[in-house]
């Protein structure tokens, strides 16, 4: 039986369509942004050079606002320092504070997509490594996904694939918190047991149960809560960090990370 050529062409076109779609979807599913960084590392270096200059002009034009934010950051730092001093009276253990920080300037920041990212002006030569957390005094910002010698690519917390382990201040109850892409500046803290008392304006902190972020960094305040599936509470958290005005961040280095990972691997 002879197969009509038009049918063969049709099947060929369909197979080409399936092949191209499969390649595209594969790239999307395999954390495309990281892949992109690896693919065009050099291009990012060039873009970083221009964005850095653009950011400098932008920074100059917004000095007044920056001053205001610095004052706010100072206040928060003072509060943290005060709390730290209070804790000094408590019995000390022999373990040193395991986190150190690398300050960096944001030269690129997207906020309007569901896969947002940042580019910061510190890279491997400054000690920045993949999988380090990025914070400000007002919350968790993201996780370093790729580094070049002078820049680092950070997957923003405003990304549907990101989550932070967070706890509610009063009760110390913790759960995973992720960004709500439907509402600007709001995240959802889930898996909180129903019996836990959650009040509006309670502060939400990082739990510290990950090597990305130190504990007790204020992330946001409780806006609302509701019972989900009759078992857990889902808490709406208004984020303290205004991501649109992000200028300076701190990269978190967990000095004990290697040791902890080694221990976990050994135990497994």
């Amino acid at each position: 039986m002879r197969i009509p050529p038009s049918l063969l062409f049709g099947v060929g076109r369909f197979l080409l369509f399936i092949l191209l779609e499969a390649i595209s979807v594969y790239m999307v599913c395999n954390n495309g942004i990281v892949q992109r960084y690896r693919l065009i590392g050099k291009l990012r270096e060039v873009q970083g050079f221009f964005w850095e200059r653009y950011a400098a002009i932008d920074e100059y034009s917004s000095l007044r606002r920056a001053n205001g934010r610095l004052a706010d950051d100072n206040t928060l730092l003072m509060q943290q320092l005060y709390r730290h001093k209070e804790n000094e009276s408590a019995p000390q253990d022999t373990v040193k504070y395991p986190f150190s920080f690398i300050s960096a300037k944001v030269i690129r920041n997207t906020v309007n997509t569901t896969h947002n990212y940042l580019l910061i002006n510190k890279g491997s030569k400054d000690g920045v490594e993949v999988d380090m957390g990025v914070i400000t005094p007002a919350g968790a910002v993201g996780i370093v996904s790729a580094v070049s010698s002078r820049y680092a690519y950070v997957i923003s917390f405003l990304n549907t694939s990101q989550q932070v382990s967070a706890k509610i201040g009063k009760s110390n109850t913790f759960g995973p918190m992720c960004w709500d892409p439907h509402r600007e500046g709001v995240a959802i803290l889930s898996d909180i047991p129903q019996h836990v008392e959650v009040n509006r304006l309670d502060t939400v902190y990082t739990s510290g149960y990950s090597s990305f972020y130190p504990p007790d960094i204020p992330i946001g305040v409780v806006e609302d809560s509701r019972i989900v599936n009759g078992v857990h509470l889902s808490v709406d958290v208004r984020l303290l960090q205004e991501f649109r005005n992000l200028n300076y961040v701190m990269v978190v280095k967990d000095n004990n990370k290697e040791e902890i990972e080694k221990l976990i691997k050994g135990a497994q």
Binding site: R13, F17, M27, G32, R36, N112, H115
Partner: protein, 173 residues
């Protein structure tokens, strides 16, 4: 040859415009303005279809690489739109229109404006449905996804019609 250079220049211009749009025009997270699908829509109906699919894939990949996006997202949506184009063309244009546009780009010069609007809207509906469904794999609600698709198609249809009438018709003349 001259026409090929014009198409290439138009594709490059659309990529640059899209980069500038994603850089400076951030109206709302719900609204994604995409002008580059217009390039795939306007290519002559008689163009080799596998080549059309490959051009769509490469253009989408180029946008993914250079503008703010996830690698593969625009490429997947644009390939879906390019694959559906012959069916949409059959649905919207008459045989007379197709004959008239033989070897010519689909602009108001070769196709009546109402039919072009219909063609654009249906093509953009396919593009944004594919794009938003892939992008919202994280689990958007049905109504939010529907609102986003509707809004993107409506706004982008208006933009592409304006682009068609004001720019493309003159550029490809």
């Amino acid at each position: 040859m001259k026409q090929h250079i014009r198409y290439f220049a138009l594709a490059a211009l659309m990529v640059v415009c899209q980069i500038l749009l994603s850089e400076y025009v951030n109206i709302w997270a719900v609204l994604y303005i995409a002008i580059f699908p217009q390039f795939i829509i306007l290519l002559p109906p008689s163009m080799n279809r596998p080549l059309h699919l490959i051009v769509a894939f490469l253009l989408g990949l180029c946008i993914d690489l250079l503008a703010d996006g996830v690698l593969g997202l625009n490429a997947a949506a644009l390939v879906a739109m390019a694959y559906a184009r012959p069916f949409i063309l059959k649905l919207t244009l008459s045989k007379g229109n197709m004959d008239n546009a033989e070897g010519q780009p689909l602009t108001p010069k070769t196709v009546e404006t109402p039919k072009l609007i219909m063609l654009n809207t249906l093509m953009l509906a396919i593009f944004f449905t594919a794009y938003i469904l892939l992008d919202s794999a994280a689990g958007f609600t049905f109504w939010y996804t529907l609102l986003k698709i509707g809004l993107c198609v409506a706004v982008n249809s208006i933009i592409t019609v304006i682009c068609n009438i004001v720019l493309l018709d003159k550029f490809l003349r």
